[in-house]
Amino acid sequence: MNEKPDESVVVIENLTKVFKDFWRRPKVCAVDNISISIKRGEVFGLLGPNGSGKSTTIKVVLGLLHATRGQVRVLGRVPTDVSVKERLGYLPEESHLYLYLTARETLDLYGKLFALEKRIRKERTEQLLEMLGLVDAADRPVGEFSKGMARRIGLAQALINDPDIVILDEPTSGLDPVGCRQVKDLILTLAGRGKTILLCSHLLADVEDVCDRIAILYRGRIRAHGQVSDLLEERDSLRVTMPAMPPGLTQEVLKLLKEKTGTEPALDHPAMDLETFFLDVLKEASARSEPGSRPAGERSVADYLRPGS
């Protein structure tokens, strides 16, 4: 399975998924004849409201559901192929963990399912716990975790095998802004290493921040599909950003623009988004209370997930 850099690693062709009742009568058509192709190293987002078919599509890609019509190929093989699963990482919509296992035991279990050597399992477990800020809770049962902590350990289990394809279903659900930022940074880091990410979310800002391409689903069908920049770009307007000018000069520039274009130009100060502001506040507070400590949200990425490793 040596794939070329621009090769499609996930191919969905005319996929239809119809859920049936006990008597095998069609109940609901969750996915209706969709086709998607995801290239290696791409971050692909599946967007849509609840019940639009995002999770169903992901579950078919994972082999958890069977296609009613059409076909799905992952790394050129059927999704249920064990060799495909060796290279997959999956974070479900809810973490679905074994509540009686501790965080460390959980990661060790999933490491064993990939037949990782004990030394590698131990190293990766510690690195992931450190990366996700769960070192202090490593020996607590997962059942005692908050939703955000469970989400983090769910993400860790999806990355324990250093997968080539990472499938994330609502990865930021239940996470605080720090966790959200961290997940998005992680996605970008993984993409930088040539990993393919299939992301499913209804949080549009998250998708916009990290995805190269998106598909918007509604009632099981693709309604829009393409590069994020292409889809969002407003080609009939223009924004110029420059350092602040004296008020008189600003008025002159505006007057000139109005004369030349015949339209009233809009003027405002660029604003940072709330997430960046929030993280800055935390960074500052953290540095003040514990000089020299690493601020929340700036934990390092696990060594084995870093570029070049």
Binding site: G63, L64, K85, P92, E94, L97, L101, L113
Partner: protein, 458 residues
């Protein structure tokens, strides 16, 4: 593959430990092991106390373990499907067959630990009770020779009655007494049953003899025993007088009890080992000494006469018995895991318990040769034909009976409490059929169904 199997198995074990199922089972088994000998009363003899400890305690403990095995194995997969943890496991490189195998091994490990603990506790209790009870030396001798031993069981040779049946039929034909409303085949069966019945009754003054093939018998381990079960034609507790004579070996040795009184029920006669020379035939003869009265002696049951010869120690026999019990638990675990893959937890539990019950009931009917549903003919009304439903039921029962026939009669705990040797072949048969073949078939079915099932449909 080993690491993956171990991971899934250890997950199952951890689940049982941390959900306190294991602790709960340990407490129940402890209470059963200690409580049953205190609550069940035998006939007051030390021998019956020991038998109760072995049969009832180990039997009840095994039944509890069997029920717990079915319950735990049904939940092993179905619980994870319902709580969706299975989704994070099946997307890992774990094939459906490996997943089934791992879950099964986990339950089997738990069973092995629990059964071992129960066996050790019973063994310790057995010897502690023998020491502390201050039993009479004579009682201890009886216990040692009849329970804390492993005696090989010899049954009389089957007598070929076919020539006598044919002769009787020919005679009936010659005299024109053949019944017209019954086929010749059925007449032959009736005659065969009547002749067999004659082989279990002894009229006053008459005698009956049986022949035993004692191939493989070892007389160096101590006395042999002749065990028989009788009743009289009058019934009640009135005594019968009879004489047993054992003629054995090439050197013509014989043993004669002389006329001995005997009540209805089961009896044991000790035969000196020197009487029998191994490798030959032993002839046992019973003479009904009740002359002048109408008290016919009837030998009850299929195994109405047995020759018991010491063949080994108790501990090894107990290990073999528990190994057979373990094989039963192994097949129950396989059934439960497969049912858990096919159905939700309540349905899986119901299906597995129902199937086990059907197997037990059919096994019981087949064992007692009472499949009367197979007899279509209504002799009183000139013979009626079976309905379609009866035929379907009959075919199903016959099929199940045929499927069960290899494991029928593997009842190790009864043998252990009776001091009867559990042959190695029985253990091998149990391991092969119950430990390998049945779980193998159920595993293939479970793995296939797992590969076909949509695990994220709910």
């Amino acid at each position: 593959m080993f690491l993956k199997t171990l991971a899934i198995a250890s997950l199952t074990v951890r689940s049982a430990v941390r959900s306190r199922l294991l602790i709960c089972l340990l407490v129940i088994l402890f209470v059963v092991t200690l409580g049953i000998p205190l609550s069940v009363r035998g006939d007051g003899t030390a021998l019956s106390e020991v038998k109760i400890l072995l049969l009832y305690t180990l039997g009840t403990g095994s039944v509890i373990l069997g029920l717990a095995t079915l319950w735990a194995s049904c939940s092993a997969v179905s619980h994870e499907v319902e709580h969706k943890q299975i989704r994070t496991v099946v997307v890992k490189p774990v094939g459906p067959y490996l997943l089934w195998f791992g879950k099964w091994i986990g339950i089997v490990i738990l069973d092995a630990v629990l059964l071992l603990l129960m066996g050790l506790l019973t063994y310790a209790l057995l010897f502690m009770s023998l020491r502390s009870a201050g039993s009479e030396p004579e009682d201890l001798g009886t216990i040692n020779s009849q329970v804390l031993t492993a005696r090989r069981l010899f049954l009389p040779k089957e007598v070929d009655l076919s020539s006598e049946v044919h002769r009787t039929v020919d005679e009936l034909k010659r005299t024109g007494q053949m019944p017209e409303d019954v086929s010749e085949e059925e007449t032959m069966q009736l005659i065969y049953r009547r002749l067999r019945a004659r082989r279990t009754t002894v009229a006053p003054g008459a005698s009956l003899s049986w022949e035993f093939d004692t191939q493989g018998l070892n007389t160096s381990r101590g006395s042999l025993f002749l065990r028989y079960r009788i009743g009289s034609s009058i019934g009640g507790s009135r005594q019968i007088t009879g004489t047993w004579r054992v003629d054995a070996g090439k050197n013509g040795d014989s043993f004669n009890t002389g006329p001995i009184p005997m009540a209805d029920g089961r009896h044991l006669i000790e035969i000196p080992a020197s009487t029998i020379s191994p490798g030959g035939n032993v002839t046992v003869r019973f003479e009904n000494a009740a002359k002048g009265s109408s008290r016919t002696v009837i030998f009850h049951g299929d195994n109405h006469l047995e020759l018991l010869a010491p063949a080994g120690g108790f501990l090894l026999n107990m290990v073999r018995s528990l190994l057979v019990v373990f094989c039963y638990l192994v097949v129950l675990a396989a059934l439960g895991v497969t049912a858990g893959i096919l159905f939700s937890f309540p349905v899986a539990t119901f299906a597995a318990f129902s199937l086990s019950s059907i197997v037990l009931i059919v096994g019981f009917f087949a064992f007692s040769s009472s499949l009367t549903v197979c007899d279509h003919h209504d002799h009183d009304h000139g013979g009626g034909k079976a309905s379609v439903m009866e035929r379907v039921g009959e075919t199903m029962l016959e099929g199940l009976e045929m499927a069960l026939s290899p494991v029928r009669g593997i009842a190790p705990l009864g043998r252990l409490a009776d001091g009867v040797y559990v042959p190695l072949w029985t253990v091998v048969r149990a391991v092969l059929i119950l430990g390998v073949v049945c779980p193998g078939i159920l595993g293939l079915l479970g793995g296939y169904c797992m590969s076909r099932r949509e695990l994220a449909a709910n």
